[in-house]
Every structure is written in C-alpha cells, then in structure tokens.
C-alpha cells in the first residue's frame, strides 16, 4: 500500500461568468482572482491529481467518471449562452478513472466510466479546470453527482476514491464545483446590479463560510439537508457535495480553512474556499452519522418481478425453489415456529425460529437478502468455485439485520439476544472486520459469544450466526 493523500480541498463556483465576463463586474473579477490564487496554491502543494465532484453533471445510473484522456469541445451554457463559448481541451487521468470505477464497484456502488468523443463536460467542471488548471499541467478526473444518492452512497463514493488515492500514492486535490445559495434572478440583469438574491440567502452563505473558514467541514456536511431546505432552489441535485468533500477528508472538523472570495453570480452565492488538511488546533467534533463502508442501497430493483411479494399469503410449501445457488425452501410451520417474510428463505426444511418457553431458538442466520437472495458485500466464490473478493463487514451487518427482522417478527428486538455462536469460513481474514461490526451492533447488546472457524457454509457466504434470545411475553 502506497501513501497517497489529499493535499488540499477547494470549493469553487460553477457559473461561466468568471471565465467569460470577469471584467463586467468587480465581484466576478474578485472570484476570478481567487481562482488564480487557488491555482497557485495547488501548484505549490505539489499536487499530481485534481478530483472534481460537479453538481452541474447530474447522473441517474449510479455515478459516472470521465475517462476520455483528452476531452475536447466547445461549451455553451444553457442560460448564459449570450456570454460566449468556452473551448476546452482537458488532461484526464484515465487510469485513475478506471481504478476509481472498480473501487466503487467493490464498495457496492453502481458506477461507470465515460469516454465518448463529444461527451458534454458540464459547465462547473469546465470552469473549474479552465481556471484552476489553465495549462493542463495536472491530470484531472471528474465524477457526476447522482440525483438519487443519499449521504451513505455519497460517502462511500468518497471512500472508494480515497482507496485509489492511497493505493496509487497520489497527491490529490479534491474540488467541489458548486454554488452556495443557488437562487438566481429569473430575469436578465445589468452585471453592475448583481447581488445575492436575498438577505436570507446572504446570511446563510456567510454562516456556511464562517464554518468553512474555521475548517469545520463536517459541520457543514451535517447541515447539508437543512441548508438545502433553506437556501437551495429545488433543482435536480441536492446540497450533497459537502457530503462527498467531508468523506474525502475523513469527516474531519479541524481542517485549516480560508475563504478566498465570496460574491454574487446572477443572484447565486459563489465562493472560492481552500481547506488545508493541516489540523487547525480546534477540537475535532463528533461524527454522528453512519460511517458506512459499503453501500447497501436498493440495487435489485430490476429483478422486482422475480421476488416473492405476490406469494406471501400462499400456504407454506416445502418444495425447493430454483435459484442461483442452493435450492430455497419455504420455512416450515408449526405451532411454535416463527417465520418472517422479511428474512431470507431457508436452504432446507426448517423454520426461521422456534419459541420454547421463554426462549427463542433461531436457525443459523446468514447475510442473504430476502426476495433477491443477493449477498451484501458479495459472495465468497462464483458459481464455478472461483474465489471472489468480498466485504466481511457488509456481510456481518446483513446478518445482524436479518436476525433483527426475525426477532421483530416474534414481537421482540435485537436487544433480546442472549447467546450467539458465530461461524466464519476464514478466521484469519475476517475476524477483525466481523469483530468491528459486532462491537457496533450486538456488542452493545451484550450477549455471550462463541466464534468458530469452519470449512464452508451451504451458500457462498463468509459468516453465519446461531442465536438464542429471550422470547417476548405473549399477550
């Protein structure tokens, strides 16, 4: 593993005025000067890679990454076409783009690279690269902003990126092309009359910049949803670049920040901000959101017609169901059995759990997902037995979630677990990751535990748990 790192982060505005009309308004000129200052700082940092997350490139199918080594075209803005055209020719690091794409997939993200002649590089990325990297001396990579992505997905995107930065030993700069408040005037204005659209927007912008000036990036990340509600026009993309940038910076709150400029751009708030990784000396604040490593979002929607929703009210059957892997069975029913449609189907004739007196005995629970039978974190081998890379943390999380579903079906909760026997197929590889997830989940409940190494499990999974729990009192 090399020692790649992030040597700086920048927030820059997206409007084309700083490229095409910097002389028409003093504020636009100051933003242009700030871009120049940022460009010089990037050079001085010894950076060898620029990573741009652009809010003006929305995507739907996961995230897209430019991988054309030399995209060339002429960009004209949808609104400000009368300002002129911006010819561009950029230096893209296609190898990094492909590596990031693979890293995304390993972390469960939908992702693809884009390398088509004539692909329209978005205005935010064009402005950023034209002004921060005017001589193309530093190779760049550009990623889209998925319109549906939540914080977990955006955070994992950043972590996958940093996986590659570290493994390739790069000295990278992270750049978010974005507005602060994004409400523009809805009619043409005289450039000399430009100002922030409202006092309220201006006040919010200044509060955000106060935080950023103090290096409190994660605080802004946690305020993203509120900021979006308060000062963002409900365009396609939410105020999520702060999630990505915070993820790139390990969700730190003690960076060294400096606001290089803040001005109006046709009413929107545009700022150039530098966040240096040097600790500011301020105490790092809590990170109170889920520190997700692997994206477990809905990715099986295309198979929805194959799920079992339409059969949930049918009588249980012991006939095996043909699937990709061992045959699945309907859970067996008896007076004291507990079965859940929200848990994966058994691979034999047994129930999910049985209630005996005050106790619940659960059959071995793995990470397979109900309905789709997919394995979060990926299977440990393919259909031909070829070993695959997989994420033990994601699998362990999914096991705990399945246990929770079964206990909730019985009327209880995860807090009822008394004793767990865990089975790992690769103790050396997986114990640490499994143990970390345990500590954050069942470890907080406090059951007794035994962990065993075994040769294999019936399905291509790495972890299974056998659980005894308190049975909820029946009314």
């Amino acid at each position: 593993m090399s020692n790649g790192e992030l040597v700086g982060s920048y927030i820059v505005p997206v409007h084309p005025h700083t490229v095409l009309a910097a002389d028409q308004n003093e504020g636009w000129g100051r933003l242009r000067d700030a871009f120049s200052e940022a460009s010089q700082r990037i050079k001085d940092s010894g950076a060898d890679l620029l990573i741009i997350y652009s809010t003006t490139w929305p995507s739907i199918i996961g995230h897209q990454i430019i991988a054309d080594p030399n995209p060339e075209w002429v960009m004209v803005d949808n609104d400000f076409h009368d300002l002129g055209s911006i010819p561009y020719s950029f230096n893209i690091d296609e190898n990094f783009a492909h590596a990031w794409n693979k890293a995304n997939e390993k972390r469960g993200l939908k992702s693809r690279t884009v390398a088509y002649h004539g692909f329209p590089i978005d205005v935010g990325s064009v402005v950023a690269l034209k002004l921060l990297n005017p001589d193309n001396a530093i190779p760049a990579v550009i990623v889209s902003s998925n319109v549906y992505a939540n914080r977990a997905e955006t955070t994992v995107l950043a972590k996958a990126c940093m996986d590659v930065v570290k493994s390739t030993g790069r000295k990278a700069v992270a750049i978010t092309a974005m507005s602060l408040s994004n409400r523009m005037f809805t009619k043409p204005i005289d450039p000399l009359d430009d100002q922030i659209h409202s006092l309220k927007d201006d006040e919010w912008n200044r509060k955000i910049l106060e935080f950023l000036g103090e290096g409190r990036l994660e605080d802004v990340g946690q305020l993203s949803r509120t900021i979006h509600q308060q000062i963002r026009v409900n365009k396609v993309v939410a105020f999520k670049p702060m999630w990505w940038l915070s993820g790139m910076n390990q969700n730190r709150n003690n960076l060294t920040g400096e606001v290089l400029a803040y001005e109006a751009l046709h009413g929107a708030g545009g700022a150039v901000v530098h966040l240096d990784p040097t600790a500011s000396g301020a105490g790092d604040k809590e990170y109170d959101e889920d520190d997700v490593e692997y994206f477990l979002g809905e990715r099986n929607v295309l198979d929805a017609q194959n799920d079992e929703e339409g059969t949930v009210n049918q009588s249980p059957s012991t006939a095996p169901t043909q699937t990709n892997g061992p045959a699945l069975w309907e859970p067996t029913e008896s007076d004291d059995s507990v079965n859940s449609n929200a848990a994966p189907k058994p691979v034999g004739a047994y129930p999910h759990a049985r209630r005996v007196g005050d106790l619940l005995y659960l059959s071995g629970v793995g990470p397979r997902q109900p309905g789709t039978n997919s394995i979060p974190g990926g299977p440990i081998h393919d259909a031909d037995g070829k070993t695959l890379n997989y994420d033990i943390k994601a699998q362990t999380h999914a096991v705990v979630e399945n246990i929770t579903r079964i206990l909730e079906e019985a009327g209880g909760s995860i807090n009822d677990v008394l004793d767990v026997t865990s089975f790992l197929v690769d103790m050396d590889r997986d114990f640490k990751g499994y143990n970390e997830v345990w500590a954050k989940t069942l470890g907080k409940v406090g059951p007794t535990r035994t962990t065993l190494a075994i040769r294999a499990l019936p399905t291509p999974i790495a972890v299974e748990m056998k659980v005894i729990a308190k049975a909820p009192v029946l009314e």
Binding site: Y116, M184, R299, L302
Partner: protein, 320 residues
C-alpha cells in the same frame, strides 16, 4: 410576474386584424416523450450505438402517431423540451440551423446522435415577442456553438425521422423549481396562450409537441443489456396508478382536470410535467375537451411514457 394586460392599446387593433386575416392553425398537439432509449432502439444511422431493439410498445406508438399525421399538411413543429433547462426565463433557438453531435450526459452509452436540423426563426421570434409582450422573461439563443439537447433531438427524430420540417425549440423554464407547480403552470398556460396566438397569426400550419414523460422515477441501475425487456417495468404501483389516471383524462378529454391535478401529479409521481411541457401543450390547444388518441404507453428505465395526439383539426372541423 405575468402581466395581465398583454398588449398596449396601440397594439390591439393591428394584432386582432392579424388574427382575423390569418389562416394559421394548430393541426395537432402531441405528448411525445423523449427518453433516448427510443432512438437507441431504432438504430438510425445518425446514432452511434446500436441496439437489439427494445421498448417496442412505445416505438410502435410513435409509428401510429406518424401514420396518423402522414396525410396532414403542416409547415413547422413547435417543441418544448424539459432537457433544455433554463432558469432565467424561457429561451428559443434563434438561428436557422444547428448541426453537431449530441451526447446524452446521463445515457451516453445509448445516445450519441449526429443531428442536422432547421429552425423556423420567424415563428420562433413571433412567439418570443408575444411572450415578451405578455410579461414573460424570454431570450433568443443565437450562439452558433450551442448544442441542442437530447430531449429535443429524440422527440424530433421519433416524430419526424426525415427531419424535413423546421422546428421551433422552446426551453423549459424551471419556474417549478424556483416557485411551485402552481406558478410554473400559470406561466406555462400564459406561454401556451401566446404560442397559440402567434401560430394563428403566422398563417402557418403547425404541430405542437410536449416532450415529456409522465411518472418519472428512474431505476438507478441498468441491466447489462439496456434493451433487455425482461428487466423493464414501472418503478412502482403508485406511479402506475398516476399514469393511468392521467391517461384516462387524456382519453376522455378532461384536460382541465389534468391542469387542476397537476400539482399533486407532479409531486407525487415525480412527473416530468414539472418542466411545464404538458401544461403548455394543453394551453396551446385551448384546453381541449375532446378526446386525445392514445397511440402508446410504456415504461423506460422505470418511468412512465405515453404518446398522445389531440387532433385539433378534427375538433375544429366538428365545431365548424
């Protein structure tokens, strides 16, 4: 925002005379969705990727629409696309022709189309000028480097693959994003009204097209073969119900109900009517109370899409 008094006193007489003397006509209005998958599946020579078909229900729907208008004479197509998104008013393509390569930034694997289209600049400017008179913020787009959006091109191709009619291309003013569905609709109804007036005054026969889907919740993943129809279905039951409700209104001539329910439809079905196209279209047709012809319905990557024709020429003949 929208000026109630559209014309100055000095304008009223000559403009009214123009209306009375002209023979301009909207021969049909159509809801004509634009997902690039349709062009991809058609395999036209202008598009670089090739497909093994797919989305046939909608492509056959476009065939039926083209057949329905095959013997109808018209001079121009007026089209509003939600993928030319403008925030500072409504814009109009303002040069006689545009020729370039359009690559869809969302589905570049499916749509890389070499287009060569002509603009009816006179009609564009007439609609622009009337909209300005009505108090709407408008702008002509006269930058020759501008790339035409893929929504315009997809609808343009599927409606008229010969590209032998000039277009008027109108941007989607994102007033819904800035204000609300209600404000968006007020502005689009006004834009539709002046569009109709300009067409009638122009002496031209025109087809008006709203290029938008109905429910608009996409899948965020794509099958290995994009045209694998075993993977295609509506995003959710709720979206299906909304689409069917709208289609029922289309088929029974209940346009006013569509406008009345537009806020709920747009928000609950995440409908692409947020771009204003459907409201504008119904306004250009003077809110038709005669049935639209449903030529096709289908889903594309989870979104609901209907191809509907309101043959205003029939309505006009019947009323005469």
């Amino acid at each position: 925002m929208v000026r109630e008094e559209a014309f100055s006193d000095a304008d009223i007489i000559p403009r009214c005379m123009g209306l009375l003397m002209s023979k301009g006509e909207i021969v049909a209005g159509c809801l004509a969705p634009h997902p690039p998958h349709l062009v991809y599946a058609e395999n036209p020579e202008q598009n670089e990727p090739t497909a093994e078909g797919g989305w046939e229900q909608l492509r056959w729907g476009y065939e039926r629409l083209r057949e329905s208008l095959a013997n109808v004479d018209y001079d121009a197509i007026v089209l509003l696309s939600p993928h030319w998104q403008t925030y500072i008013g409504t814009h109009f393509l303002g040069l006689p022709s545009f020729k370039s390569l359009s690559v869809d930034p969302v589905f570049p694997n499916l749509f890389r189309y070499h287009y060569d289209l002509n603009i009816d600049v006179d009609l564009s400017r007439q609609i622009h000028d009337r909209a300005a008179d009505a108090g709407l913020a408008v702008k002509m787009m006269e930058n020759p480097d501008f790339r035409v959006d893929y929504g315009t091109i997809t609808t343009g191709h599927m409606f008229n693959p010969q590209w032998d009619k000039p277009l008027v291309v109108i941007s989607s003013n994102r007033s819904r994003d800035y204000y609300s569905v209600e404000v968006m609709q007020e502005m689009m109804i006004e834009l539709g009204r002046v569009t109709r007036e300009a067409i009638l005054a122009s002496g031209k026969k025109v087809v008006v097209l709203a290029s938008n889907s109905l429910s608009h919740r996409h899948f965020t993943t794509e099958s290995a073969i994009p045209e694998d129809m075993s993977k295609e279905h509506i995003a959710s039951h709720a979206m299906h119900l909304w689409d069917m409700r709208m289609i029922e209104y289309f088929r029974t001539g209940q346009s006013q109900r569509i406008l009345d329910e537009m806020p709920e439809f747009t928000e609950q079905a995440i409908a692409e009517s947020d771009g204003g196209g459907l409201s504008w279209l119904l306004s250009t047709l003077d809110v038709p109370n005669y049935p639209g012809i449903l030529h096709g319905y289908g889903t594309i990557i989870g979104t609901g899409n209907a191809i509907v024709e309101w043959p205003e020429r029939h309505h006009k003949e019947a009323s005469e």
